[in-house]
Symmetry: none
Subunit: 215 residues, 4 copies
């Protein structure tokens, strides 16, 4: 009725979702009870249901909200960038920045993929698919620009996602590098590997490699 009403409502829901994310991170989706979330948020059990109809939907809203935010920021930041390498760098930075700023949501996104059921699951999977597809697209722009060692985009991109997503199991703020530096390191490994001089390490030189591509 009053124009402030819907804001109040979504603010309160936002608070609940943030607390739910924390609880889900601490105990896992199945290990967390709605009562835990009620306690953590200071919202009574029944009020909680007034704002969100089920535990599943809490997880759904957290997941979908996070992925949408990541995707939107990515598209906005990608605007104006031309070189696929720069785009890739931006994607990794965008991903890690969100993860390191929202460690609760990050862990939930990464771990609770299969906790969602039915319609919720499909919708989240669809947003994820879009995000993955966007990454593959950038990878293939790169492939068109310069020859790649790894030509299976699926495997390559999933390796990159592995590096990024696994951070949620080990990253410790303060000890580990910030999002920009971490992104640079991951991109460097992904594009050029850890060796400065592969030949010196006994690996085939670049040119032979290219030649070997003939077989």
């Amino acid at each position: 009725m009053s124009p402030a009403a819907p804001d109040r409502r979504s603010q309160r829901l936002g608070h609940i979702l943030a607390c739910a994310a924390r609880v889900f991170r601490e105990k896992g989706y199945d290990g967390a009870s709605v009562r835990d979330i009620s306690r953590a948020s200071g919202v009574s059990l029944s009020s909680l249901y007034y704002y969100c109809e089920s535990k599943q939907k809490l997880l759904y809203l957290i997941a979908v909200g996070s992925f949408r935010t990541i995707l939107e920021r990515l598209e906005s930041r990608l605007r104006g960038l031309e070189h696929p390498v720069e785009k890739l760098r931006m994607l990794v930075f965008n991903h890690l920045e969100y993860f390191l700023l929202h460690p609760d949501e990050m862990k939930v996104l990464v771990r609770e993929e299969e906790a969602l059921r039915g319609r919720y699951r499909k919708e989240v999977a669809e947003v994820k698919r879009q995000y993955f597809a966007r990454t593959v697209q950038i990878f293939e722009e790169l492939a068109h620009l310069t020859p790649l060692r790894e030509t299976d985009a699926r495997v390559a991109v999933l390796a990159l996602f592995g590096m990024m997503n696994w951070t949620c199991t080990w990253y410790r703020p303060g000890r580990d590098p910030g999002p920009q530096e971490l992104a640079d390191r991951f991109v460097a490994i992904f594009l050029q590997g850890v060796l400065r001089d592969p030949a010196a390490a006994g690996l085939q030189p670049e040119l032979e490699e290219v030649g070997a591509g003939d077989r």
Copy 2:
């Protein structure tokens, strides 16, 4: 008395653990009930407790057993290898082979790190720590042999583990490459990156990099 007696028992426990791993993979540790495991294994609820005293211990035995197996096979396979690159390749192959052959255990190992409590948790963490330390050791042998782009062993090794462990979320046998090929690809990315010609992609040439290594 009969020589088969102890075998019977451990065989039966082995069967239960295999079923438990499958159920844990399907539903997650917290989402799975001991009754689910009882049903899946065909062992009555109370008999199940005759073989294993708690749900926690089921998870513990799965985790510790898997890590021990991986570590033992690794050490045995490492014997005779000299070059750090070969050692690394073997480590990645050993890891992926176990994971692809035991997808249930793999997923449990990767996801349920924090489901264990108390003594069980500590013991599993210790075996993991050993495994991680072994990998860092190989990485540093490599660093002594040839200059590396990434000098932070922790970040580099965790990036590699990210690639490997993330497979449990996407790997589909039949569609995706087998353990040997996948290992080769991951090692190639890790050591040399996906680019065949970094300079052509606008990245700094090798030699300057090498020069930078003088500081």
Copy 3:
């Protein structure tokens, strides 16, 4: 909001506690199941837990409530009494009256001393200790007033408690005397014994005893 609300809750809890006391008396604490109490009270199992968080706490509330009531009534009834003999009589009456009016709680108090654990146990033990100390105090007032045969207050008071508490194993309303008469009899035995003429029964005469008191 409505003034009746908190009353409703405590009334319902009171009903549950009364039923729990009956069930505990009939089956013992360990022999009784929470389902038995649920059935006996007509309160569903989960509602029961809504009112009281654990079986232990049910017992605790019964025990602490009873002891507090007994103690409060005792102090109120003791006010105005001067002579230790009258005080003792009142204590025994107060004790037996409560027991005979609340036979379920009585039996639980007497039998389930050790069923409680941790904090609950300590708190109940503390109230009991106070009650015992109060009785010893009255006994010692008596000892100051007139020479006693039994000078070990601990043993004497415990003998008296034995008489009183043991009633819970044999008392049958209707057949046995009411609280006032029973109290009189116990006090008479405790103070003067069952013999009217100890000398005639071959026991040492009072006067020699009194003389013996000189040593």
Copy 4:
């Protein structure tokens, strides 16, 4: 077959019963599991059932055995005693001596009266009844000899049993008097009360009491 066989058997059963008594004392009948008894006795669960067919029977054997022993010793010790006061003293000593020497059995006897069911319950109740009747008989011999203040034998004897049985809740060897002294004190209280000079305490003199008996 061999003559020693039955002895072995009953020795082993005796060991089991002693351990069972200890476990029942520590945890209560319902709180104790047959596994607890198996562990405490070092006898495997199935062997335990070979020696005694049920948990109920364990309790039954403990109870019946104890009561029989107490009764037999009592009769043997009573032989030769003439004066009812001496008989009473012997009964109380006999009772306390057994209790203090067998604290486990004592506590079980006192607390687990109602844990037994059916035939077992009846049989134990019968032995108890005999024991009670024997005490009443002695009490009435005393009543014939000398006038008593308390003429209701039931209440008087139950008061005495209360003193004796309640010891199981407070007696601490070392701190509290041994069986003979404790028996003397209890008998003194029971026969003559704690007061040396009831008149001085404001209680009616003996003779008036006797006179009052006329009404």
